[in-house]
Amino acid sequence: MGNIWAFLQQTGAAAITALFLLVLQRIFLRHLSPRWQYGVWSVLLLRLVVPVRVGYRSAYLDIAPWIERLRTWTELRLSSRYASPWQETLPRFPWPELPVQAPASVTDWLFVLYTAGVVLCVIWYGLQALRLHLRVREGVPVAGERLQRMKETAQGYGLSMPQRVVECRWTATPFLMGVFRPTLVLPMEWDMEEKVLLHELLHLKYQDVLAGWVTTLFRCLHWCNPILWLAFDKIGNDRECLCDQRVLERLEGEERRDYGRVLLSMADNRSIRIPGATTMANGARSVAARIQAIARFKRYPQGMTLVSVCITLSLAYALVAGTPIQALVQESGGTVSAPSSMAGALSTGQLNRPTTVAGALDTYGKGVLLKYDDPYTALLCAAMTAPEENLPALVEEWKKTDDFQRSRWTTGPQFRGLVSDGSGGYLCQALWYRDMPEALLGTEEHPLPEEGEPWPAEYLCHTLWIRPDGQFWTVACLDEAQGDLPAAPLSMEPSYNVFPGPVTWVGEADGVKLSLSPAQLLETGDGILGKEYMVDWSSSDAGGFWMFGDSKTAPNKEPIPGADFCSVYTGTYWAAEETGGQPISITWMATPLWNTPDGPAPAQPGRRIAAGKLDEVVTLAAGGSQQGADGGGGSMGNLGSDLGYMLGPDAVQVTVVLDGRTEQTIPMTLTYTTPDGGTYTLPGEEDTP
């Protein structure tokens, strides 16, 4: 726990668990044995030890989203050193990590106060225990006949004796203390009561002193949580009740009633509330509850252990282990909804980051598309996908109000040219479209389309770098470009967007320059949103139906962090340029290659669909050039999570025949390209390879 929010997560989750267990104990008070009543607190112990949301799992009664929202809301207004509004603050350990920097905000000071409280509590309880130890050391050891009687009693019940038995003038009731050197402390000249002795010996047998110390440790860690203090008191009382049950199981008939009478006589004795000491007299109210428990005493049926263990396991699973958040999101339709507040959207995003590459692209793409229509979902998407260091700038960008008409994109996202970056990440283009406004048409460059001709479209293209971050994926935008197309390729027609993909292989031989770029088209989740806004789509036969035949359900606009790709269409962009000053005829063939353990190799049949072999015959005039995009089929529907199936090649092998001469293979060099023909550099790489 490195800040006050992490502490609140841990202590809040523990308090909720404690309250639930108290309710449960009440329901099963007359049904389950004192063993279960005490044993069920092991669930609280687990909750206190296991950090909240460990392993990206969410337990029942999960309050993490609320605390995270409060944290984001508060920290946006502060400049804390221990906490940040841009990063989730879940505890890593169940204890506080000592701050190394000076506090800079209210929340930092609160954490310092909490940590100081823990230290003071530890010192306080330590001093109490030391004082008790010193006082007991001055006690008079019991010896002779009295000690012998005690030994006989212990032997009679098959119990071991503590290492020391002493008498002290200042104590009114017997008690047991010490973990490593257990000591039984008796009142001076105490008239030995066998049942009380039995009670203390049973505490010794079941290591209850140690259990008391464990509770004390958590009292210190959660010193400011009254609900947990109540629960710790209840644990102490339940421990005594269980000890009573164990005593009663060893007694018969009238002896049991005698035990009740002895206990009743102790109701007036002051309880000893010192850590590391157990005592039979634990206050009048507790003694009353224990008398009631004794009145309910019964021997529980065989098999009670089974049901007790089953119930405790169920509780531990539900309240501590929890369910993977990814599975919970899938169960609820796979989408994440944005709360209508900035803090809510940011914190929800940080808690629901994408777990698949397609999920990261889906989330990023929807964020850009919905910036004006649904700003909070857009912010949620940014918080889900952006690397932590980019978030402040993104939020500032989000707050700006641009020219709505010129900045809004109606349709998308579509993805293009997904390839590996060679170091565990991926590069890809994301595209959004809108119809070209009629006011811009009617020029020589953009004539008004005739009847039956497609309507020109404008596109926005982000070149994206998708990087792993633990078990999640982040998305960074490396380049932004805009342009126009003869039509938006919504029906997965690659020949419309004829421009380079995120990487291009370039090679040159005898006055000819060839460029090849992966340009397969991909859709994620439920497919492209906003198709109905495009003239071509809404006026076509397909316009009345959504892609997968469901005419009523529109694609989900909420991000799907665990999405898979739902369609892929093969595509390769190519360009040929004459550089030697002579007209030339070129026949060339390109074979895409993917990295394998044995080096780059063509795809096995059916394993890769993003790109196929390319055969072209091109005739170029002197200084002339040609370009195009070829594609051939694809898949749609449930494509599974095999990313390799959608991935563009890692290399390409090109053979050319120039003017009918001998075939030759030309070396191809990788460049990072933008749609307008420019280049970019990957962060951290000084030069383009």
């Binding site: 639930f20 009664l61 098999g303 396991l313 169920s314 699973y317 599975a327």
Partner: protein, 184 residues
């Protein structure tokens, strides 16, 4: 001491109660309504009656009546699937635990009654085995993690669960038939 003749109506209701609780056939009308052909509510209601009838012989059986009635009311939500979305996780967890305990205690008491009414028949032992099966299977079904993470394992658990439930109902049927045998 209970006689087979006295146990017979208890066993009959327990058998039919568990048929209704453990097996489900329903016809759903979208998210709004699900017509239950074997309504759990009725099953729990019958077990509540068994608890009341058996309380004279086993006081711990009488303590289950409140739980059974509560579960009968709770299971009315099965008719309205849309209500699932509004039920807090803590309540579902509480109900799961109460069901787990009720199954356990019900079979424990029924086994004890069977031992009294049909000594040396082995029926009590069989019911105690059925008790272990039903508690363990109910526990596995409550671990949604398994269902979400390993769908194939879910299929196995479901198959084992069906067999286990059939075995449990078979034991109750045997008890019902054996207590109904003519007294010589």
């Amino acid at each position: 001491m209970i006689s087979p003749h006295q146990l017979h109506p208890i066993a009959r209701k327990a058998f039919w109660g568990y048929i209704l609780i453990l097996f489900n056939f329903q016809f759903t009308f979208g998210d709004f309504f699900a017509l239950q052909f074997l309504p759990n509510s009725l099953g729990w209601w019958m077990l509540a009656e068994v608890s009341e009838a058996g309380a004279d012989y086993r006081p711990s059986l009488g303590l289950l009546r409140t739980f059974c009635l509560g579960l009968a009311v709770w299971n009315l939500t099965q008719f309205f699937p849309w209500m699932d979305r509004w039920i807090p996780g803590a309540v579902s967890l509480l109900i799961t635990l109460v069901i787990l305990y009720t199954h356990f205690q019900f079979f424990t008491d029924l086994a004890a009654l069977a031992d009294e009414a049909l000594p040396d028949s082995g029926r009590g032992h069989a019911l105690r085995t059925a008790r272990i099966v039903i508690v363990v299977v109910s526990l596995l079904f409550s671990w949604t993690d398994l269902m979400l993470t390993w769908p194939y394992l879910t299929m196995v658990i479901a198959a084992v669960g069906l067999c286990a439930y059939t075995a449990v109902v078979w034991q109750l049927w045997r008890l019902y038939k054996e207590t109904g045998a003519p007294l010589l």
